[in-house]
Subunit: 453 residues, 2 copies
């Protein structure tokens, strides 16, 4: 069962840390997973959190540090630990997480820790990984993996697993390479368990292994692993040489983060995830840009409506009352349409219906929705004694707005995507503002037309 | 490298199927993964797709069927295959996927196929799985797994893996149970490979295994697997008896689907994912409900603005021009605030700051953003020669709207969540409409006040 952290438990452990009650700390945390202990530390005073890590020892401590929220970890490590202490933990952390942790630290600490690492192979691995962009296969991969040569026997393979067992936590497959280190295939551990010791790797390996290249984006990697149900994937360089492996847990984080970023884009938040702990200024900065764009749109709308100020609104002030209805409907329809397109862009296939067919379908749906809304609004206005001409203007404008906003909501993400801009922003304030303006234009042009008849 | 499907390739395979060129089909598809062949079939005529499956044989065919989009699969199986043929494929599919596939079929076909299954153990597994709700651990799990008894030796364990090898595709751990089938722990395959054959399971197994219960929601399972970096998790009943296992690939699908549903809720789409192939009527039905709610909001706004028609708008028609600015800003600020809250609800921890602290922070941010926007708009209006009083009304209303929309955007998701309603809907049309109304109220009250001075 998953562990539920309570404030009381945190208080007990804090007290034990204060009293240097090592036995109590060890006993209480013995049954917990590193991820749970990491959660616990977030709630504790930094000095006492450090004491708990010391009590747990370097190996468990390293796992806890890997699970800490980067937001807490960066300062916690930099302020409470010496570079020697950090290096002690890093020795027990796989290279991909180690590189991520060191990447958070200032250059000086990073260099000191790498210089202090006892395991020089790991130091080389980390230096190597620091070169890759965070959002690429190279940035996601770990260097630790078990590989064996095509010419080996199963027993040599098992020896290699034994040699690497300390370094590589999860082994589900052994990668098969040739003399030059070129990836040739894989053997599952299941197959190794079931093979005779004298079998040759060449006879039992699977030569159809899916791999990704160093430069491929994290998103592509996530896509491939999801599509082919992989729990790990080897990473190769342009020559096909085996460079590392990516495990599914890292990709699950990528998928979660991508969904989060998309939601932020839709909500008009820029920059990274806003956290409770973040400063006011960062929050203002995340929110302001889109509000400014919305404001510019609103001011444009004001200039535009201003044109009709004297000859329409002053004469028929009731026209003003329906501005929110028209604008709001345009915004809602636009967001719905762009959301549907976003979804089909995400599940892109060569067999998707053509843009023209899609537009036709969108417009048919829009006619239905528009007419239904238009009729209801007309009935409502007429029943409440609004002038016939005004009721007509509002309903005709409403139907037109639904049609045009559907069209815009469909086309905008497609165009953004063509130009390589993340189309998720099209569901955000930008399209809402555009549809607002569009709706008002149609509304006042209709009014102008019908009132000048 | 991932395979890129082209229309040309589909045409070649279609032609080969038409000409019954089995050799060409086999050779062309030999290098492809089942997921790629499934994609290929989607683009083909159903009869020819069936022919391709026949050429590939039952085992590969079964994998392809598992990878087919349920939307195509349901009709394809029901119309093109006999129950005998379906049973032939199901024999090669793991119980969780088999249950999902049969669940899509009408009751008659489902029962026939189960009755026709040669492997009666699998038939029992499937019948068992059909009882569980789709969105629970029971609905996600497969019955196929390798388990061994606490008292066995490693060699007995390997024999059991060999016995189950045909049924269980991916084996990364062996689950350890006692005589009553109660889950006691697990042994990784890595450990089995590295142990002496005479070792007892009791001496090498890991007794701290994370498990989930049958009734736990798919979301909880996804959360646990993500938090603890698991690539599979055993499922137990209330008595702790081992019932099945869930692998990470199924959970990756759950995570993707949850993100998709949330985005739909934000966009004001109801019901399931809209697909290109879906009927016009389903699309109308998915979109209309939220548009109607938006419409009611718009009509309410119209009634409300109507109150000020004669004494304010008729006198100062320029007031109408700023309705979109005020409403739009309220909507944008509301969505941003609710999105931030949604995020912290998703990453809930016991250490989150209190609601009061959070509200204070939100309001401070709102003051900043509101004042910045208000000043810019004031400068703009004043520069363009708007009346001083009007410029004041607009800017004061704008600041108030930003404050109130921030407050509403923060409180609404928290309240919805308290009442067990998915708070993601708070980012959708509902809150936009509410903020629209709120903004207009503030705007006209401010105007009323300043113009009556």
């Amino acid at each position: 069962m998953a562990f539920e952290l309570t404030r009381e438990f945190v208080a007990y452990i804090e007290e034990a840390a204060e009293n240097r009650d090592d036995a109590f700390i060890r006993e209480s945390l013995n049954e917990l997973y590193p991820a749970d202990i990491a959660n616990l530390l977030v709630g504790m005073d930094d000095d006492q959190a450090k004491y708990v890590l010391e009590v747990l020892g370097r190996e468990t401590g390293a796992e806890v540090i890997s699970n800490l929220d980067p937001y807490m970890r960066t300062d916690f490590l930099a302020t409470k630990f010496t570079s020697e202490e950090i290096a002690g933990f890093i020795g027990f952390i796989e290279s991909d997480d180690a590189a991520d942790i060191l990447n958070e630290q200032p250059g000086k600490i990073r260099e000191e820790v790498i210089a202090l690492l006892e395991n020089r192979e790991k130091a080389r691995h980390i230096i190597d990984l620091l070169h890759y962009e965070e959002d690429t296969a190279g940035g996601l991969m770990a260097k630790e993996l078990v590989k064996c040569n095509l010419n080996w026997t199963v027993v040599q393979c098992v020896d290699e697993i034994r040699r690497q067992a300390q370094q590589v936590e999860k082994v589900n497959s052994v990668y098969v390479v040739d003399e030059k280190g070129i990836l040739k295939g894989r053997v599952s551990l299941k197959k190794i368990v079931l093979s005779r010791a004298s079998n040759r790797v060449a006879d039992i390996y699977d030569d159809e292994v899916m791999s990704v290249e160093l430069h491929q984006s994290a998103e592509e990697v996530a896509d491939i692993m999801r599509r082919y149900d992989l729990d790990s994937v080897p990473v190769v360089n342009v020559n096909g040489k085996l460079m590392g492996r990516i495990t599914i847990d890292d990709v699950v984080d990528v998928i979660t983060e991508l969904a989060e970023r998309e939601r932020q884009a839709m909500s008009g938040l820029s920059g990274n995830a806003e956290e409770d702990e973040e400063s006011i200024w960062l929050s203002v900065k995340a929110r302001l840009p889109w509000l400014l764009i919305g404001m510019i749109g609103g001011l444009l709308a004001a200039r535009f409506v201003g044109i009709f100020e004297n000859d329409l609104i002053a004469v028929v002030p009731a026209l003003a009352a329906f501005i929110p209805l028209i604008g709001g409907t345009g915004g809602n329809v636009g967001i719905q349409s762009s959301s549907v397109i976003l979804q089909s862009l995400a599940n892109r296939s060569v067999f998707e219906i053509s843009t023209l067919e899609r537009l036709m379908k969108v417009l048919v749906i829009a006619v239905f929705n528009g007419v239904i809304l238009g009729l209801i609004v007309f009935a409502f206005n007429y029943a409440l004694g609004a002038e016939l001409r005004l009721s007509l203007v509002v309903s005709i404008a409403l139907i037109s707005v639904v049609l045009l906003a559907s069209f815009m909501g469909t086309v905008t993400p497609l165009v953004l995507d063509k130009f390589g801009i993340n189309p998720a922003v099209a569901s955000g304030p930008f399209i809402t503002t555009a549809n607002d303006l569009l709706g008002l234009t149609i509304y006042f042009l209709t009014a102008k037309l019908l009132y000048s008849l």
